[in-house]
Every structure is written in C-alpha cells, then in structure tokens.
C-alpha cells in the first residue's frame, strides 16, 4: 500500500541481542507471565511487526499479545526491568510511524484485548478494551440508537486504543469533535508499572486533566487497557449532498460560506478531479469526472432543521457557481457516496501502485491558496497528486501517487511532502490534523514550536513516563538529533 523500504533501520535504542533472543531472559520472563504461544520471536513474525501503515520501518525484538491489564502490566514491567523500550500497538493502521518499533523494542500488541466490557445506553457511555475496532463498537451499540462519533476512514480496521493514542478524527468530527471529546476515562498501565484510571465517567473532578494530556500521546505516556467512551445519539434524519464545481476555489469558498452562515454540517468533504476520476472508476456512482472539485455535505439532526439547512446549503452552493446538485435519495445512495469518500485511498491503486498520504491542517480561508501550492509543488517534483480532504476543518490530505520502481521517485516524494508541510504551516496551519507526529514529522516539530514549547511538551511526557522507555524517540525531536537524520529509519522524510 505504501512505499515500504527494504532497507533495515538503524537502531536508535540498541537492545542487546541476548535480551531479545528467543531463549533470552526477556522472552523467558514474558512466556512465564503470559503464555508460550503469545510471545513471538521468530524472524518471520517479528518482520510482520516492524512497521505500521506508514512507510517507516523499524525492528521488533519480541512481539507479545497480552489479554488482560495484568498481563500488559507484567509485560511493561519486564521490559522496564531489562531496560528495553516497548511500543503499544493496535491494528497498526497509523500513518506516522507511531507504532513502528525502533531498535528491537518489545511490541505489546493489544488486538487480543478486544471486548466491549459494558454499555450504558441511558447515560450513553461504554467501557471497551483497546483492541476493539472502531466500527465494531458503533455496530454493537446501533441497537440502542447510538454510535461512536470519531470515524476515521480506517474505521473498519483501526482500534479504539489506537484512536485514543492518536486522538483520531474523521469526516464526522467537524460537528461532533475528535476522539478527545469522546473519551471520558482510561485505565492506563503507566511505564513504571503502576495502574491508574485517568478521568472519570462523569463530572469534572478536581486536579489536572491527565486524561486529556494522555489522549493523543502516541504511546509515550503509558498503555490504555480499558477505555470509557461517550456514545452519541444517532440523528433522526440525515441528508447527504454532492456539489461539483469548475474550480477548487469555488468549492472551498462554498465551505467557508456555509460555516459563516451559522451552519456546522455533520461532514464537509472535498475531492479534486483526479481523485473523483479514480473513485468513479472504482465504484461507478455516476460522479462528475469532468468537475474540478466535488463537495460532499452531510447534514444531520431533527427533520425540520435538516430540511432548512439543505435548502440554505443548496442556495449557497448555487451562489458559488456549483454546476450540479445531487441529494442522496435513500440510504443506499448515501452509502454509495460515502463509500466513494472512504475508499478514495484504495481507488488510487488504479492509477499508480504506491501512494504517500499526507495530513496537515490550514485555516479554511487558506485552502484555495495552499491547494494551488500543493499542485505546484507536486508538478515541480514530477509527482502526481490528488486531494481528498476534510474541507470543513481545513484538514488536507494530499495523496502523492507514484510507482516506487521508478528510480529516485521516493526522494522526490519525500521532498514534495516536506514542502507541502512547510507551506501548510506557513499559511497558519499545523503539522498534523489527525495522523499524529510519530517519526514521520518528528523533526518538523520546530516548524511549529519553539524550544520552550517543546520543553513544555517534554515535561508533560516526563511526568507520565519516568522510565523513558515508552515508545521512545517519537514525537519530540531530541535537541542533539535536530538536523541529524542518521537516527531516523529509511523511509521517513524529515
């Protein structure tokens, strides 16, 4: 799917081979604490866990599969006792290398902790284990007329633990907020082996919002083993509309005008022409392949408000020279439209075999200008780019499409990617809207943050991880490694 490199990574935290060997002390202790079959050390199995869905490769020393909080705690303690870094991993769908193990780290895989522990349909909350898949929770609570609001495009395969670690978003976060707004509490195995509950089901208890600080900490503050999430009532009515435009600018201006008119649609998604063409060839939904931009707008809520907003949004789109208006007539048509949006990344395989998906946020008003620059950058590097993004919150996802067998193409992809991040930040935006920093953007953090800002983030992390062994060397550039790319594995662009 992405441009995996065959070159092994240079270890950043060298772990002695004696520790990670199949018959070494760590493996032996883990087998005793978990079970033989849930501790893996063969080269083939370790190879499967050397990366997440990014193109950054590391190396796993040992992979284990705990099934309880007690086992996670035992695994963390064993790792720390031996000075071995550990990395929590869910489904491995992360795109920034957050779950890539470095230097033979212990990978603690949480996919076997996948039970929904309790659902309170009246107060609308649930306790789940971290390995529960995002969409599985929504399906399980549908009977109560509820859903879990964060809905990343990977929701069929990503885990709620991973959503928590990355503070994930999704198309419907425009109206309902990102993961942080939907996580009430989490039981966490701290790097020192302590087990604490951060946050609470209700209220706003005294003390620091440690729950909030933990969400989005990319596995560097501990491992969540039980998570209390808020569930959201399904809307009585939903209308999904498609508008297409002759220019990207007209589409982007429509988005700003909708927001300025006091409406917050449930979703506001945009695709550019190349993307529409790829998706249409894939799903045959009758999308306008000659349009420069396609805008998907969904409004949800009680019927009168929805009808009123549909009318006003259609009028705004027409004012902005929208060419055609398509309102989904039934649930099947709505599902087809959303399938087009959510499978856009898969659809590009029809054009080129590899892609590199980016993630930055810019102010909505800067969208047309930044998109122009994105096209110009891709052009200059001779790379095909298509854009499918959360227009409502300015969250861009330029997709660089290429064939990695072309000599030198990866270098150009990485150079173009870094330029895209730089123009986004220069336009008043941020490094990442929902994928996180991980390794991918670690060394770009100084674009957004001064040394004092980074020191504050390091202080936050240090308050949680007193061992320095929880997914080390991610997110924060170490002062000594700034500008030194030797420590970053092959495949990262920095």
């Amino acid at each position: 799917m992405t441009a995996a490199s065959a070159t092994p990574a240079t270890p950043t935290h060298p772990v002695s081979g004696a520790l990670t060997a199949a018959d070494g002390p760590v493996a032996a202790a883990l087998r005793s604490a978990l079970s033989d079959d849930r501790v893996r050390t063969t080269a083939t199995e370790l190879g499967l866990y050397r990366r997440d869905a990014s193109n950054i490769e590391g190396s796993a020393g040992i992979v284990c599969f705990p099934t309880s909080t007690a086992e996670v705690r035992a695994a963390v303690r064993i790792a720390v006792d031996h000075g071995m870094p550990f990395v929590a991993r869910g489904s491995g769908t992360g795109l920034a290398g957050g779950a890539t193990p470095l230097g033979g780290a212990l990978v603690i895989t949480l996919t076997k902790m996948n039970r929904i522990l309790s659902v309170d349909p009246v107060n609308r909350l649930a306790w789940v284990e971290p390995g529960v898949l995002n969409l599985d929770l929504t399906r399980a609570v549908a009977v109560h007329g509820l859903h879990f609001a964060p809905d990343p495009s990977s929701q069929q395969s990503c885990s709620i633990g991973g959503n928590l670690a990355n503070n994930s978003g999704g198309p419907h976060c425009l109206a309902d907020g990102v993961t942080s707004a939907h996580v009430l509490a989490a039981e966490v195995v701290m790097p020192d082996g302590d087990v604490v509950v951060l946050g609470s089901e209700g209220g706003e208890t005294d003390g620091y919002d440690l729950r909030g600080a933990f969400v989005g900490s990319e596995g560097m503050c501990g491992i969540a083993t039980r998570i209390c999430v808020r569930l959201t009532q399904n809307p009585p009515d939903v209308r999904t509309m498609l508008f297409d435009f002759d220019t990207v600018e007209a589409g982007a201006q429509t988005v700003s005008a909708i927001i300025a008119a006091g409406m917050v649609p449930a979703a506001l998604e945009m695709m550019d022409q190349l993307c529409v063409q790829a998706v249409e060839a894939y799903i045959h939904a009758g999308l306008p392949v000659d349009a420069a931009a396609l805008l998907l707008v969904e409004v949800a809520g009680p019927v009168h408000g929805v009808a009123d907003e549909v009318e006003r949004i259609v009028a705004i789109a027409r004012e902005h020279a929208c060419r055609t208006v398509r309102v989904a007539q039934d649930e099947a048509e709505r599902a087809l439209i959303w399938k087009g949006r959510k499978t856009a990344f898969g659809a590009v395989a029809r054009i080129k075999p590899n892609y590199y998906l980016h993630d930055t946020v810019v102010p909505r008003r800067a969208l047309p200008d930044v998109l122009r620059q994105v096209y110009e950058i891709a052009d200059r590097h001779g790379i095909l780019v298509m854009n499918v993004f959360h227009a409502g919150d300015g969250n861009l996802h330029p997709l660089l499409v290429f064939d990695k067998r072309e000599p030198g193409v990866l270098e150009r992809v990485h150079a173009a990617g870094e330029e895209i991040v730089r123009v986004s930040v220069a336009a008043g935006g941020v490094l990442s809207g929902e994928h996180g920093i991980g390794l991918e953007k670690r060394d770009l953090m100084p674009l957004m943050f001064a040394p004092a800002d980074l020191a504050a983030q390091a202080a936050l992390r240090a308050a949680f991880d007193t061992t320095g062994l929880a997914n080390p060397t991610k997110v924060l550039p170490s002062p000594s490694s700034c500008g030194d790319s030797h420590e970053v594995p092959e495949g990262a662009w920095i």
């Binding site: 209700g202 209220g203 809520g301 009680p302 102010p363 909505r364 990442s432 809207g433 983030q457 997110v475």
Partner: protein, 290 residues
C-alpha cells in the same frame, strides 16, 4: 498579542499569583498579583475561531461573538483566563461539550518567565503533546494564560427551556434527542432544547415537556459522581436542595451533601510530577491545588 510586558510582570523568581475579575477564586492572598492582557485580537467567523487576551471578560467576548451569530462554550462571568484555568463547564455541557475542549491554542507565561505556546490555531490539530488540556483546570499552577485561541460555535436559531414533573427523570433523559441540558431537582426535569423552532417544539411535545422560565437556581457546591449513580445519590437529598445534571454526573448541592471521592495515589503522583516539571520551585499560585 504582545506578551512581553506580561511575561516581565510574571518574572522569574518570587512567588506570584494571578487574578482576573475575582469571580472564580481570584488571587492567592498575600502574594504579588498580576493580571493577564485584556482585549479581543480577532474573530474569524468563517473559521469558527476567536483570539483574545486571557484577561478579557467572558461577557465582553460573548457580546462580540454574538454580533457575528456565534458564541464560545464558556460559562458566563469572570474572565476567559479564569474560566479556562478553573475549567468547570456550565450546565450546557451535555450539548456543548466541555470547557476543556474549547481551547485550541494558548500562549502562557511559565514559571521561568518565558512565553510558551501550546496547541495550534486550527480547529483540528494533533501536533505533539496536548499541553492545552493540562492548562484547562490547572488553576494557574503550571503557567499563567496570556492569550488564547478558542473554538466558537454558531448560536442556535431557537432555544427554549422546558420542564415537567416526573419521578422517573432518566426516562425523560433517554427519550429526548440531543438536548443541550437536562436537570433534575427531585420533582421536575428541566430541559434546554435548541435548533429549528419546529424541532424544538415537536421534541418537547413528544416528551410531555412544557415551556418554562429557565433552569432552577444552582446550589453552591458542585459534586462529581458517576452518571449512572445520579438518581441513587440524590435520592437521599431533599427535593429543592439539589440540581443534578443528568448524563453528566454533576450534582449541585450543599458542600457536605455528598462525600468527596478520594484521589488515587497513582494519579496524585502523576499530578505532582506535572507540577514539579512545569513549576519546580512552586512559585505560580503557591498553595493552590489544581
């Protein structure tokens, strides 16, 4: 906003406290006191964001935002900085979300007198660790807010409070679609509905709610309980002496009405390390707890 003068006032060595309008606790007694800059920097209605000094009164901000049909999710009164530093949501949290989610970017003065930026200016951002979440509710113990960028929301076209007598408040709570607030005082539920006026009226009628003058007055103290325990916990309290926020696990009652929950020692240890990491000498709002 230029925070140089504010940072110089906070300085680097001696104990220092901060106060806005004094509505949420104000300054620590007997300690040199500073105030955050006041004033709205900009309002970007089409971005749904606003930037202002932390010393800006919430009501001043609300009036300016109302002029463009928007509002910030902050409880009324006092200053923006005070509302964030205390971090308590109002009775609209069910519909609005929590105060802690409103802060997108903060620039604060740390214990070493240096201006630090946390978060970013856009409505969506996962760039690095979320220091903003630590600042909200920190009572000025890890840094003094200088200026902030907040998320705003449109003001709903129609809003109305409703009430109904009931002995089964959770049944009402379960039946209403996405209310902004549902309060229970022992004899009545009080429900705030917003949206299209026809939707508001229809939702109220379906649940047997009758339009009312507004929410009941709130008793002095605020207690946190599990949402599932609200009815059981308040069963022991006399009607009229409490107001519970259903679904939120907040009970407003007399200070001694509900025993406080003990803080877990593991959580206290993390909190101590946070304080030590951000303010090693304990000079910011000395003696105050987050």
């Amino acid at each position: 906003m230029d925070l140089t003068a504010f940072a110089a006032e906070v300085a680097t060595d001696d104990p220092v406290t901060i106060a806005g309008l004094g509505t949420r606790g104000g300054a620590v007694a007997g300690v040199r006191c500073v105030s955050a800059p006041r004033g709205i920097e900009w309002i970007q209605a089409d971005e749904m964001t606003v930037s202002c000094g932390a010393g800006t009164p919430v009501d001043e901000l609300s009036a300016a935002l109302a002029a463009v049909g928007q509002r910030a999710v902050l409880p009324a009164g006092g200053t923006v900085g005070g509302a964030l530093a205390v971090g308590r949501s109002g009775i609209r949290r069910l519909g609005d979300g929590a105060v802690r989610d409103v802060l997108l970017q903060a620039r604060y003065v740390g214990a070493d007198g240096v201006v630090v930026k946390a978060g970013g200016p856009t409505v969506k951002n996962v760039s690095g660790f979320d220091v903003c979440r630590l600042l909200v509710g920190s009572h000025g113990t890890i840094g003094f807010l200088g200026d902030v960028i907040l998320r705003t929301r449109p003001i709903a076209p129609h809003a109305a409070w409703f009430a109904a007598p009931t002995d089964d408040p959770m049944a009402v709570f379960a039946a209403v679609h996405r209310p902004v607030s549902v309060l229970w005082d022992g004899t009545h539920v009080h429900v705030l509905l917003e949206g299209h006026h026809l939707d508001v009226v229809e939702r109220a009628m379906r649940t047997g709610l009758v339009e009312s003058d507004g929410p009941p007055p709130l008793p002095a103290a605020r207690h946190s309980v599990r949402p599932a325990d609200v009815v059981r916990v308040t069963a022991g309290l006399r009607s009229g002496t409490f107001v519970a926020e259903l679904g939120m696990g907040v009970v407003h009652a007399a200070p001694d009405a509900i025993p406080p929950t003990a803080v877990d020692p593991g959580v206290a240890a993390i909190a101590r390390r946070v304080k030590d990491g951000f303010d090693p000498t304990g000079r910011l709002n000395p003696g105050r707890a987050a």
